[in-house]
Symmetry: C2
Subunit: 189 residues, 2 copies
């Protein structure tokens, strides 16, 4: 029986890992922690606030950028790390999408990506567009992949035969080519 | 009381328009149509099959490409049309994502985008990557926008102040710059 903020987030990850986002209710969380539901509301006023904290917690494990590494290499690494931390927690892409929609979670990964893009001489608008393209490719494709994983886990269907990692890599390469093209325009000008 | 395949899909759109994806059950559909749930299963063996047909129905209203129009202009138009048809039906981006995950819906919009990209001399791998980037930007960002719309409609929160259309345009521009850069490499070579 424990009930700190990090205990609650760990229990939430546990419910996603063993069940699904549909099972992640405040009632279920309280039961898993051995406390009454009201005890959770001392830390989180509602479920959306808890999901926002969970989204931030999941994304917090992405290492920050290093100024010593080439900006395009760093962008590629941030995108693949974003995908990796999402894939590590079932249904988390949907959690992050919902948390960003609610406005309750910070979207610091977008800011980080935009800051690295600015090192490549991209304009503020282009840097922001690049961050959106990278984040939504990753969130969108991972929502699809994690939905598929749940369907397979429930035995609704067999393997899709799709190689999501290859779909991701090919799409990311096009987006980074766009970033490089913008950089070259601004570097030449 | 009616129960053709198109009646069912129209009723499904109605439930999304007036309520949400969470309310779109086979039972609810049958009630709205004035038939018994079993009557629906003559057309669709299960809910996933119905959602796949709904996803195809929503995307079918995107006009096909014309060979007379510049390939990059056509790619931009396909992406904005994809976004527009999704925004016209609440929660439909999630419906399409789930339908694509299930493998029960065709993903002909991806094929269409890849075919147009091939006109710009992109390789098969680059064309496919471009299609993924465009589709997942659109699906991912629209899931977020439609989730936000539902939150605002339920009075959970006020306006986000975000301009999703500008976020989309800026991200799409970067992706299309990537397509142009690939085309130039292959045209020069």
């Amino acid at each position: 029986m424990s009930n700190t903020r990090s205990d609650i987030l760990a229990a939430a990850r546990g419910i996603l890992a063993e069940h699904s986002l549909a099972d992640l209710t405040m009632r279920r969380l309280a039961a898993d922690l051995g406390v009454r539901p009201n005890a959770l509301y001392w830390h989180f006023p509602n479920k959306q606030t808890m999901l926002a904290a969970l989204a931030e917690d999941i994304l917090a494990s992405i290492p920050g950028p290093s100024p010593d590494i080439d900006w395009l290499t760093e962008l590629h690494r941030l995108a693949t790390d974003l995908r990796a931390v999402l894939l590590a927690v079932p249904d988390s892409a949907e959690v992050v999408s919902s948390a960003w929609a609610s406005g309750l979670a910070d979207r610091s990964i977008e800011k980080t990506i935009a800051d690295v893009a600015a090192r490549g001489q991209l304009s503020a608008q282009a840097s922001s567009g690049l961050a959106t393209a990278i984040c939504q490719l990753t969130i969108g494709l991972t929502i699809e992949e994690q939905t598929r994983t749940q369907m397979e886990r429930l035995g609704v269907t067999g393997s899709s035969g799709r190689v999501f990692s290859a779909e991701f890599d090919d799409a990311l390469d096009i987006i980074l080519d766009g970033a490089r093209a913008r950089s070259e325009i601004n570097t030449v000008a």
